[in-house]
Subunit: 435 residues, 2 copies
Amino acid sequence: MSVAPNSPSHPEMSKFVDISQYMKQLGANARMAAEVLAQASPKIKNLSLHEIAQVIDSQRAAIKSANLKDMTQAKSDGLDAAMLDRLLLCDDRIDAMTEGLRQVAALQDPVGEISEMEYRPSGVQIGKMRVPLGVIGIIYESRPNVTIDAAALCIKSGNASILRGGKEALNSNQAIYDCIKQGLKQAGLSEHSVQVVNTPDRAAVGVMLNMSESIDVIIPRGGKSLIQRISKESAIPVIKHLDGICHVFIDDMADKTKAFDIALNAKTRRYGVCNAMETLLVAASVANNILPDLIDAYVEKGVQLRGCNRSILFNPAKITAASDEDWDTEYLAPILSIKIVDGMDQAIEHIKRHGSHHTDAIVTEDYTKARSFLRRVDSSSVMVNASTAFADGFEYGLGAEIGISTDKLHTRGPVGLKGLTSQKYIVFGDGHIRA
Amino acid sequence: MSVAPNSPSHPEMSKFVDISQYMKQLGANARMAAEVLAQASPKIKNLSLHEIAQVIDSQRAAIKSANLKDMTQAKSDGLDAAMLDRLLLCDDRIDAMTEGLRQVAALQDPVGEISEMEYRPSGVQIGKMRVPLGVIGIIYESRPNVTIDAAALCIKSGNASILRGGKEALNSNQAIYDCIKQGLKQAGLSEHSVQVVNTPDRAAVGVMLNMSESIDVIIPRGGKSLIQRISKESAIPVIKHLDGICHVFIDDMADKTKAFDIALNAKTRRYGVCNAMETLLVAASVANNILPDLIDAYVEKGVQLRGCNRSILFNPAKITAASDEDWDTEYLAPILSIKIVDGMDQAIEHIKRHGSHHTDAIVTEDYTKARSFLRRVDSSSVMVNASTAFADGFEYGLGAEIGISTDKLHTRGPVGLKGLTSQKYIVFGDGHIRA
């Protein structure tokens, strides 16, 4: 474990012998804060979110100046333009942060919700009450706005959080955390309700992933390599998705207009998002009717096309041959692979082999095939006659999302406030005893 | 990894170089079977359960003869009476197994259930469909009837399963598995839908706990040391409970009759079960009114009493002093610890420090305290005016239970068929695209 004593940018580290001791202190703080936060009223939690928003608003200059330090360092370290863009905190992004806080405050509080209270033959009434998970560890890259998103969702769902952002954003995250602490205090909540790891040392992540006694779930946000590393190393359950290799299958019973609109929207609405379509599957019998117009539309939008042998024939000048690797690639870019299949069975087989359990859609007017596709495709979102772009916490009515799960345990698909909670059983009796 | 070639009692092992290769083959088999089982109709799954019941019924002699081998070996190995009793398969227990299969067949099939389909402002309709988890690994001790319980719940919930029972029950489990295989086949399902690990080598468990690629969740059933070891070693998420240190708190606003009935039932209905009360907490102001009768009733039932300083005074002849350790002990025996507390806050504090998040109950007529206790006590079941004995899958209407979870991730409390499933999002559109 490395030591980071008396480092000027994170003075509090000097109190600890090493990273491990420092992280364990955060863990212990979080456990205590979680107990109180789990019982906090919606009023207090919402108040804290509004207070944080207000402090951020009033501390704009400090936040931007801290961000400038990070940006200057990042530029001198030679970070690429995309990374610099993600790191930047301009006024618009600060506005988005405060707006996000207010939106989360406006959401229904999930904690304490009682449901399914039913009388049993014994006479007792049994149902469920929604409870927070406890302490959530969030590990992300150098996008400082994630600090606010994550803090807001965790506070609202009654969970204490330990946030570990990319080291390039250390100053920005600390400036934001100063606002969070002040807002929490103004609302009467412990500043340990949210804690931001205050060291650039990567060893902190390794320690964090083994703090099972003080962290209940880890949510990584960022690129695939980060998420892969975290799920491999973590001794704590991880809520995650690795890839978004999403498919649209145009069935032979598809409506041509719907197929055109959906296939175009799913690819070209935004390229760098996990719910974008990466592979288009088209039933052979309708390819002739549907593909030519679609190919023209993609080309016009500047989308590179890579096809199977059969699809290349539709426009050999514009479609290059897809390699085996293409079917397993999340492009996150204006590139699309196209495959002509004999029918739905082959489409489902392709999705099974190459998909990532994220989002897959069928376009069809056939009732039985729609039903069968929904049941057979093992993805966290399965759609009929809708664009994969709808796979999103806001579109699903979750209000906000902290991530997407392509796993099956605990939660699947976009994860909102309810995904950060569990349910305990509650039992009402009138002196009932069991025979 | 140890090698067990040509061992007479498990001939198929001879095909494999070592335990690791054998276990991985089971894993690969299970993955393939899980895909088919996930799509199987309720009719086929129920048919398989009835067929298995019938085969077991007709193979009674073979099962009992295999069990006799295990019993003889166990006796010569000097197993204690309790273990021998758990290992024994008599006609009554075989009847209970077939009855259990038929009960599970009669339960509602959870797979494919569609719920919460709501229209969103965008016009798409979004909801959830229930899906199996995939492959479930179950590790248990030498109670061969668990083989049938576990297999039945996994088949019904559409999950393939890998079952690893205690080595003392190897012959019994294989005889039962022969019946399962035949029943599955008769219903047209793969015999790999359920697989029983066929080696006494404990190394099999170690391999199993690291097969993340082929097992989605591990459920250990048995004593605390088994479960502790498994949760520590497992690289796969574990659904478990360690202890059942359950409390009943008699509040100063308790109805005396209800308090008496509940406190007596929660302790004395059955002693060796995880939902039995281990510690009785009594508000000081009503102790005088309630404790003397209760103490007499416990003594009459042969329950040993261990008390705090204040409670001993009520019957120094019958109550011995509780040690610090007592408050953290799951007796699973006719022993009860009693503590007098100043009021609800102190009772909740005691439960927080000494409880095991299993089941805790308050007896009170006070509305506000009932509500507060329900919210503040962080246990998988929290009860008002009901005996902790109700914490049970059958009593909760789950039909059957594969275990109890005192954790929060994925599922809490008794785990039935739904606890063995997840939910994916499904989206219905009419050609909808996202703006």
